[in-house]
Amino acid sequence: MYPKGLQRRNVLRMAAQGFGAVALESMLQRELGAKPRSNPLAAKAPHFPAKAKSVIFLFMVGAPGQMDTFDPKPGLARYAGKPLPESFGKISSQFTSGDTPILPSPWEFKRYGQSGLPVSSLYPHLSKCVDDICFVRNFYTESVVHAPAMYQVQSGRILMGYPSMGSWVTYGLGSESENLPAYVVMPQPEGTPEGGTPMWSSGFLPAIHQGTTLRGGPNPVLNLKLPEGMTPQRQRRTLDFLQKMNDLDTEETDTEMAARISSYELAFRMQSRPRRWISQRNPMRRASFMGWIKSLRKSLERAACSHGVWWNAGCVSCSYSLVEARSASSGTLTKT
């Protein structure tokens, strides 16, 4: 199965002398053209030439509405103070009767840049770089209730149980990273938005494609921290012992078992150096929101470059779908 010299047993022997060897195994295998069957997240070629290197997706609950930001609705001014014309039909709303008078946007819109796209006076600085931004203005929702609308943004349906964007991306493209979770979700410091975990679920795709929640504080990934009283040395010895025993009762050809052995090495590497890949993630403590985005990008580059895989292939690496919860429905996609 494996090229000579790359048999799992040999690799494990190397692993006993230091971690990283298993990652080396799969990288070498890839270079030698062998199919890493054991890694369902192996990077796959995209169907179309890639233009972006990475995607940061910010989902911002409670942000201002589109009619106050990037999508002027002059029609509202015509009906200011009046109820909605009957021809429009009855609108449904969860907490109002739907017959309140119309309030036009209090903000002034102007066109900016070569594209001439409108931005409201809420964003005096953003208006200077509209040509770097692609505005998508055709988002809509089929539910006026928060959670279903959130599911629709993430998965296209107002129901729970459909794969979220990040899940589809890792399913379709895999991940270039060898030692980081492929799809990462960062909830806002205040907690999870209404939709909860179904927002980043893998639905009917295999569980490996579900988003991994990265949290603030010393324990960004659940159970990443060493248990109380455990030392890294002691755990390394326990792990080595476990891996040797696993190796004993695992057939050479059993890729599933081999994957299981590798997963322990990855887990150990993740917990050995979490700081490398966990960005400063509390925007409240940062000088500006854009500053925070910049730092996020930097930490993505650093995380990837430190292991030399992130930028190499030059294909779409949106295997990081960073979800920062802020806005339910404005549907603004920021190209970074």
């Binding site: 969860q94 539910s143 959670a147 729970m160 975990t197 659940l222 990443l224 248990p227 057939e251 887990a267």
Partner: protein, 716 residues
């Protein structure tokens, strides 16, 4: 009267024109194998294989130049069959007794003992609950607990344990209320129709949309779990691949058009009243605490109201100041708006409290939660269905949108199998009964095949039809159609006796093969479609947790009852959504041995998945899960190495070894192997363990490693 008659006749008239179009759509696809009634094939006569299951398999294997693998060792066999049938590892004593039993029917006795165990139903129950996407909560943001849903879970477990036949099992779940009125069990069984998610949340709702989703859930689960057909694909259009016209989706949906969810009391009025009185009395005990908290909050709340009033539009305030009875409707609206704007939320009030006051407030609430632990059980009720008092029409919906109604359709069965001209009840009651009777009739081509395939999949890891919920054209073809047909007919002839077919499979030679790899055979059949060896299977999250508890000695094997909350990580607690106070969202049971119950009894909350389960591919309870996927990733390792559950269990396991062996190393090594893997260590392993135990390692580190072993989490 005349109008009513016309209304009744209209759907039938439309149906006539519809069916022509549908018949053309179905066309020749009517002859696809799935829709043909299975005919019993004669089992091949092969010397040495008396079990027809083996005869069919071996015949197919020989034709490919393949043959069975050698039998698995007795030690591994008892481990395999015990894990398979009960979801728990065999005890060392059970292994020893079986290995020593040299009688020719030793294995048969073992299978019968295991099938008689109450764990048999728990194991099967998990499978069935996956199919019906059972959970204890509604789903969506509020995700409230369904107080009485667990009775359905217990019903399922008992059904498998008591040997309920499959026809009766289906009939009770679809139409228990109609077919056996007054039978509590049959009523509880209809929880099947309500097991899916339901959007229950406050405010103005699009009731019609919500109702449509409820009906879709009922239709979909009937299609997937009972028919093995992807009926749901025809919600928006004719099925893209199968001969299921869109009208079939709505004809099946119309079977449930009058079916509404209800909580139906299972005890007499008197007992209900006693229970309500007890609840009231309990509530009274909480009142003093609530009053104290309110007293603490009040001055801060009032202060906030005053501050907020300053920012409110004077016109609104003016309306607010007008006495209630003197307000015009418009003033009423403005006053309400003013009130909304000036009322602080509970968390605004709490945020305004000084630290010491806040601490005092939470101390009082803590006392209240302690008193609340004695909350009396509500009176028994069934989370079930009933027929509505008024009939409801069913329309075909354009792209599945309830606002775009197309033709009316009558209740009916899939046209590819049943002539649409055949009579089907259209009254308030009896529609579900008719569906259940059709499903369990011996003429039905799919029901028996779908179920024997599930039994097969549970025992062999993959189905004869690999896509157990999809027998359609995009699903897999059977790897051995004669075998599945023989099993289906045999199943019906044995009176739909699940246990009897199950036993037949467990006793087959095929089941007792080793799982060892064979390069030559793998070249012919790499995916082991023809079962030339047993499939190694990873245990589900539930079985891993249960096995760990069994090994550590902590397992509480009590059965049934309300879903149990077990300790969760603070990060998971944070995922619980609430608009209210956040300090008592996950009260743990007073009796702490409850947290060591088997996993099937743990509270299954749709929006808060337990990492130990979710990481090991527990389905999300949103769609019917026919077969769990097996993924392997680092989060599993982190959970099994670092979680406080594993830390605690490995310590308990270590204590058990010390206790049972008086701290003697050789004994502890043997005992640990027997408990976790059902065997003794090899010489090499023993040496490795002794080597490992030198230095600063603790016994619990060793125990943790054993509980993480590949061999421990895989069925051999």
């Amino acid at each position: 009267m005349r109008r009513n008659l016309l209304l009744l006749a209209a759907p039938l008239l439309i149906a006539a024109t519809l069916t022509e179009r549908d018949a053309a759509f179905i066309g020749k696809r009517r002859s696809y194998w799935t829709f043909q009634k299975p005919v019993r094939p004669e089992p091949p006569k092969l010397a040495g294989f008396s079990n027809p299951v083996d005869a069919f398999l071996v015949e197919a294997l020989y034709s490919k130049g393949l043959s069975y693998s050698a039998p698995i060792s007795k030690e591994k066999l008892i481990r395999r069959v015990t894990l398979d049938v009960t979801g728990l590892p065999p005890t060392p004593a059970e292994v020893e007794a079986f290995v020593k039993d040299k009688s020719p029917n030793a294995y048969e006795k073992l299978v019968d003992r295991l099938m008689a165990s109450k764990h048999y139903g728990e194991r099967w129950g998990l499978r069935w609950l996956d199919l019906v996407r059972y959970a204890d909560t509604n789903g969506f943001e509020l995700d409230a607990e369904r107080t009485h849903a667990w009775r359905y879970r217990d019903y399922v477990i008992n059904a498998f344990n008591s040997g309920k036949t499959y026809d009766r099992f289906i009939q009770e779940q679809l139409a228990g209320d109609e077919m056996w009125p007054g039978d509590n069990d049959a009523l509880i069984a209809t929880g099947f129709l309500r097991a899916g998610q339901e959007h229950i949340v406050g405010g103005n709702q699009d009731e019609e949309m919500n109702r449509q989703e409820v009906l879709t859930e009922m239709t979909t689960v009937t299609g997937s779990a009972l028919l093995g057909m992807t009926i749901q694909c025809a919600r928006c259009h004719n099925h893209k691949f199968d001969p299921i016209p869109q009208s079939d989706h709505y004809r099946l949906q119309a079977v449930f058009a009058n079916t509404v969810g209800d909580e139906l009391a299972l005890v007499p009025k008197q007992a209900q009243q006693t229970s309500l009185d007890a609840a009231k009395a309990h509530d009274k005990k909480l009142q003093p605490f609530k009053a104290q908290v309110k007293e603490i909050d009040e001055p801060y709340r009032l202060k906030l109201v005053e501050e907020r009033k300053k920012g409110i539009d004077p016109a609104l305030l003016a309306a607010f100041d007008i006495p209630n009875e003197k307000r015009t409707p418009e003033q009423e609206r403005l006053a309400k708006e003013a009130k909304d704007q000036m009322t602080p939320a509970w968390d605004d009030v709490v945020a305004a409290l000084p630290a010491d006051v806040k601490a005092k407030r939470y101390a009082i609430r803590k006392q209240m939660h302690e008193v609340d632990l004695d909350e009396p059980e509500p009176f028994a009720a069934a989370y079930a269905v009933a027929n509505a008092k008024k009939p409801a029409d069913t329309h075909i919906l354009k792209v599945g949108d309830h606002k775009s109604k197309l033709d009316l359709v009558p209740a009916g069965l899939p046209q590819v199998i049943v002539d649409p001209a055949a009579e089907f009840p259209q009254g308030l009651s009896g529609r579900r009964t008719a569906l259940a009777q059709w499903l369990t009739s011996k003429d039905n081509p799919v029901t028996a095949r779908v179920m024997v395939n599930r039994i097969w999949q549970l025992r062999f890891g993959t189905g004869i039809v690999a896509t157990a919920n999809d027998f359609g054209t995009l699903g897999a073809r059977p790897t051995n159609q004669k075998l599945i047909d023989w099993l289906a007919v045999e199943f019906m002839d044995r009176g739909w006796d699940i246990r009897s077919i199950d036993r037949l499979l467990l006793l087959s030679v095929a089941y007792r093969q080793s799982s060892t790899y064979d390069e030559a055979k793998a070249k012919i059949d790499g995916d082991n479609k023809f079962y030339w060896r047993a499939n190694k299977r990873r245990l589900e999250g539930e079985a891993i947790r249960d096995s760990i508890l069994a090994v550590s000695g902590a397992l509480n094997s009590k059965m049934g009852g309300r879903g149990v909350k077990i300790p969760i990580e603070p990060e998971i607690y944070e995922l619980i959504f609430t608009e209210g106070e956040t300090d008592n969202l996950w009260p743990l049971p007073v009796d702490r041995t409850e947290i060591n119950r088997r996993s099937i009894y743990l509270l299954n909350k749709r929006s808060v998945r337990l990492p130990m389960m979710a990481n090991f591919d527990q389905p999300d309870t949103i769609t019917s899960c026919a077969m769990r996927s097996t993924s392997t990733h680092a989060l599993q390792a982190l959970t099994l190495m670092n979680s406080s559950f594993m830390q605690e269990q490995s310590k308990l396991f270590a204590q058990r070894l010390e206790r049972e062996c008086n701290g003697k190393q050789a004994c502890m090594i043997d005992a640990s192997y027997r408990l976790t893997l059902g065997r003794l260590p090899s010489a090499v392993e023993r040496k490795m363990v002794i080597e490992f135990s030198k230095g600063e390692q603790k016994l619990s580190d060793y125990c943790l490693a054993m509980l993480n072993r590949n061999e421990f989490v895989y069925v051999p």
